[in-house]
């Protein structure tokens, strides 16, 4: 790295710190301008290169899983902090790492990238591996329609040099697949079809039969059975079990003959939920679970995963660009699994309450003010545990407010 770049990036870092904005992209922006090949050069030197994790739902948790599995296998893994998946955010993170330890000694970088950012990234750095979890309608206010999203991901698959890992059960698979690539798969056994797509009348993709490397065969509670062995997850929900199959498949491709199924399944059982994705925060000794919901498919899976009737529920819906401006998807989700909802909050609290009314679900309080609603919610003494379904910007705020009353891991 040139000295001039280093100095400029350092100043940018200090500036962001001084402003207290917490934005980590500025140093990266400076680096991009002064030394455009910095990121590609640094990452290209890694012995195992770069693995990109993308898809509509489950990116953060799956990235965390892959990182932990590879670390257990003995690799030194670099990853990007949640939320900074712009190319320049990654450049910032790489720079900060070099500043911290004086060098960039890693075996592999595992990066979470959203669909649009992934395209920008692969234009600069060709990943060696690519795990695509799923392609579902989401952020349509940003991408227009789901075929656009699939188009982005196809570009990423095309640029990947060594191994592409795809979801064998994804109905948009054919739109992502690039003909000349060797592709690996993960998926679920046909006995689980009802669980994953209860009303899927779409003709399943007209592929030739696929033999996935890792198959999810059975789920009972948190116990899951794969074709390569069984384990118990700390992550809840069928969607996390399937994404774990994806993480295992990617790790298998990366490690090749070094892949030790027993060891990896044990490591998988230690993976805890990621920041705000089913993360449990203890408040006054009672667990409060934050569940990020942002589209109908993800919300449906999260609702299906909850099975404790003693749990008090809050739902917070915002509609900023980071949440998705369009909240119509609330109407495509069946909420009847919830018997009642104690608090409804967020900018679109009344839309949410109206939605629940149509499912005949009793609502305790409706308050667009997140902080007030949260303190009312957690001061309810009759419940022993709490769960909050929230959109992205609501999650960040709620987590901050929870931090005022409880010990919470610092937001990145």
């Amino acid at each position: 790295m040139k000295n001039i770049t280093k100095i400029a990036a350092r100043s940018a870092k200090l500036l962001t710190k001084a402003k207290g904005s917490g934005g980590s992209a500025l140093p990266g922006l400076v680096i991009e301008k002064l030394e455009p090949d910095f990121l590609s050069r640094t990452l290209a030197n890694l012995p195992h290169g770069v693995a990109v994790v993308s898809g509509t739902n489950g990116k953060t948790t799956s990235t965390k899983t892959v990182v932990e599995l590879l670390t257990t296998a003995g690799l030194r893994v670099f990853t990007n902090p949640t939320g900074s998946n712009f190319t320049r955010g990654i450049a910032s993170a790489v720079f900060c790492e070099i500043e911290k330890s004086g060098s960039f000694h890693f075996d592999i970088a595992v990066l979470e990238l959203d669909e649009a950012h992934a395209v920008h990234f692969v234009n600069k750095v060709a990943p060696r591996y690519f795990l695509l979890l799923n392609v579902l309608p989401d952020q349509l206010d940003r991408f227009g329609d789901v075929n656009t999203t699939a188009g982005f991901l196809k570009t990423v698959a095309k640029e990947t040099t060594n191994g592409v890992v795809l979801n064998a059960n994804d109905s948009l698979l054919n739109k992502v697949r690039s003909g000349d690539k060797v592709v690996h798969f993960f998926g679920y056994d046909s006995n689980l079809t009802k669980l994953f797509s209860p009303d899927n009348e779409r003709p399943s993709s007209d592929n030739k039969p696929i033999n996935p490397d890792v198959v999810l065969k059975k789920i009972s509670g948190k116990k899951v059975v794969f074709n390569i062995g069984e384990t118990t997850l700390q992550l809840s929900g069928a969607h996390n079990a399937l994404n774990s199959a994806g993480a295992l498949a990617l790790v298998k491709v990366i490690l090749g003959r070094e892949f030790n199924a027993k060891k990896m399944l044990r490591a998988l059982s230690n993976v805890k939920p990621a920041f705000g994705r089913g993360e449990v925060i203890s408040v006054n000794g009672k667990p409060v679970e934050l569940v990020l919901v942002k589209n109908s498919a993800g919300c449906r899976m999260s609702l299906a995963a909850q099975n404790n009737e003693q749990t008090a529920t809050m739902i917070a819906i915002n509609d900023t660009p980071s949440d998705g401006r369009d909240i119509s998807w609330l109407w495509d989700v069946d909420f009847t699994a919830l018997k009642n909802v104690a608090c409804v909050s967020g900018v679109r609290a009344y839309d949410m309450a109206l939605r629940l009314q149509h499912d005949n679900i009793a609502v305790g309080s409706i308050d667009t003010n997140l902080r007030r609603s949260l303190s009312r919610f957690i001061s309810d003494n009759s419940s022993s545990n709490f769960q909050i379904y929230c959109t992205y910007s609501a999650m960040l705020k709620l987590r901050k407010y929870l931090g005022l009353v409880a010990q919470v891991e610092k937001a990145l």
Partner: protein, 254 residues
Amino acid sequence: MTKQVKTLDKKQPSRNKSLTVMVLYPARMSAYGDQGNLLALKHRAKLHGYDTKVVLHKPGAKFDEKVDIILGGGGQESDRSAVLDDLSKIGPKLKKLADSGTPMLVICGMYQLFGNYFLTQSGDKLTGVGIFDTYTEDNPKRLIGNIITKSDKLGLLIGYENHSGLTYFNQGQAALARVKKGAGNNGRDRTEGARTSNVFGSYLHGSILPMNPRLTDELIRLAAVKKYGEFSPNDRIDDSLTEKARRAAQKRSR
């Protein structure tokens, strides 16, 4: 309290008054909250004293003409082509029902296919049902965002639009509403949606019916009058929650 329960009781489904709602191509043409329209219709019909029976029409299935209300939603381009064959078969039947006054609500993709044709970006002309004297041209730039329109009969219609097709009218075609905020049919002439006899077409999801109960009530009224010769609305429905949701939506930027 007891009084209120009694009033409600009077409006509970009784004397077998029932409306049959058909959903066109539920698997293919259902996007962005189209489910909400069916939910709202059922919910509201019940409050007015009608049971609802739902019929799902799938491509290739026999078309059941004994319906009181028809709903259709949005879809991707591949979905559109998948229903086209069936739509050309049932088109004349839909037209006959429309002529006889059957209320229908079609959103986005199905709204476009209820017009004369849909011109894809690659130049393919997909023939529509022709209930609306409109045509739609697909456009590389999508019209996306919160939208508010005003209809003389139904007041403010509030929702969210997301479409790449630009819909234009031939002379004499009536719009559903005028755009107050947002793009509407084509982003140019300030029209939104279309209305021909009792058939309503619109780009609004959000979903349109739960957020706009006057439109829901209108569909139910038209269906009830056609089937039973009369409609006596339940004028004691508490719409305070809907009003608050509408006010919150109106304050959101485009």
